[in-house]
Symmetry: C2
Subunit: 297 residues, 2 copies
Amino acid sequence: MEDPHIDQVRRFNRAVTLRTGALDDSYLGRGRPLGQARLLFEIGPDGIDIGSLRELLGLDSGYASRLLRALERAGLVVVEQDGKDRRRRIAKLTETGLAERQAYDALSDDLAATLLDTLGERQRDRLVTAMAEVETLLGAASVTIAVEPEDSEDAKWCVAAYFAELDRRFEGGFDPGSGGYAGNSGKMQDDGVFLIARLHGRAVGCGALRRLDATAGEIKRMWVAPDVRGLGLSRRLLEALEAEARRAGMTRVVLDTNRSLAEAQALYRKAGYRETERYNDNSYADFWFEKDLRTPP
Amino acid sequence: MEDPHIDQVRRFNRAVTLRTGALDDSYLGRGRPLGQARLLFEIGPDGIDIGSLRELLGLDSGYASRLLRALERAGLVVVEQDGKDRRRRIAKLTETGLAERQAYDALSDDLAATLLDTLGERQRDRLVTAMAEVETLLGAASVTIAVEPEDSEDAKWCVAAYFAELDRRFEGGFDPGSGGYAGNSGKMQDDGVFLIARLHGRAVGCGALRRLDATAGEIKRMWVAPDVRGLGLSRRLLEALEAEARRAGMTRVVLDTNRSLAEAQALYRKAGYRETERYNDNSYADFWFEKDLRTPP
DNA sequence: AGAATTGCCTGACTAAAGTCAGATAAATGG
DNA sequence: CCATTTATCTGACTTTAGTCAGGCAATTCT
């Protein structure tokens, strides 16, 4: 274990916990135990149901309940019943609670400002830029990819966003109901899979695999949300789809693409796909690729 | 408070504590309370005296003692007396303790690796680079500058490093005992001040101010350690020296510099210094600068 | 040498954090 | 409708973290 990358991550960690431990202390500046302060903060201006709150902070149900009682006694929080499911309860901030939360906000702002204060303008810009980069990439690292039902809300939303983007980018637009595409746009066959990539719960990408025959599959609907591009997500989706194909006993995957999607073609080539001849009558397709899954990745 | 910089710092903070809070948890993976684990880790392979250990972790003396007893009972640590000062005691890891520490190390490594695992090579590089940048600049933000006795160990060390650098950079070298420099190299006058910049305790820069007459001071011995350059530290030192000059009732500061120190000249100009005529007989000086302190900064 | 200081220790205490086993009421499944 | 599950709560605990007051021995100051 002398990977310099790992070393850097650990050094970073040390430096940051040293520094931002102080930022955590802003949670202590108001004479309230950390646990209560965190709760107060996470309840947020709009209120939240207790279950989500517990999950968010990773608390034991008994403990969470007790903390809420304490905040209630202090007049900062009210807990009321959910209209739909009367077992469920919703915590909301009172006027006082909201003011208190804003005070915590101000404390955090002050601490962040102190951090920047000592730096010159150039250094400040550099720091903030680097922080944004770290934040984004840590986000990328916590994207999860999983098989989900193709008819879920999020799946439909992803596919709609995908189609909308195709319509924007193809010369002459794109209509999912026309040009040989129709046959594919229906429900996936028996053992097709639909993958969704999620960032902190939000769907930010998708990809589908459908079976062509006993040994071949087709990859379709690979899409990544514009604001999370450049993070290698499409590579991960592609790899995940290939893994699904292998799991389904396929030895070969194919896909088609349009000439206006240059990044996609680059991705496929880099991932070991070779151009092949037309295998379908999709009128939007200009290039066809295939990859042999039997060779090790 | 809607400074986008502050917002970015806070978003970064959230993202990082969310993600790398998990890295802290590696301290918990071995069924030992966090406090003990931190101690075990900080004692390090070579042992450390208890005073330093306490300071490092910011612990109460009684608490630290108790934690050490617990680790001793577990057979991970031995505490022995210092040879020189028999009040002082030194904590060392036993064989078992060392192994345990390595286990913590491995856990941290694993967690860091998991973080990097999901990313592609490009993203990994970007993340690590950004992390290094953040780490460095957070370091810069925690540099403190303070007046210290001119004859302290660290002050002498800084000045020696400064002279050594001059000797390396000046054409024909530099000898503090010659060429009109001698007169200045003795002890500072009555109300001269010596500033030291420290990064986590380590001296990383210095600067001196001495009085020339009732209203003027001279800035000398501005130096920043090579590994922390580019962080705006010299700017901060210069500002601190000017503040000292104002405090001492000076309305004007002067300084001289050698032609081979181009960055220094750029710094002085940017800070509002104007070139002026020779005011001393320092044979190493090629340029002389002055700044009127009465104009607001 | 005697007084003060330093470095570490123990005992006695408190607050915060967290766990676990039920209890209760509402919702859901057959 | 009854059994089960779900969402939250209460009470009874334990552990961890941390503080404070004093105590003892070694060192330093005068």
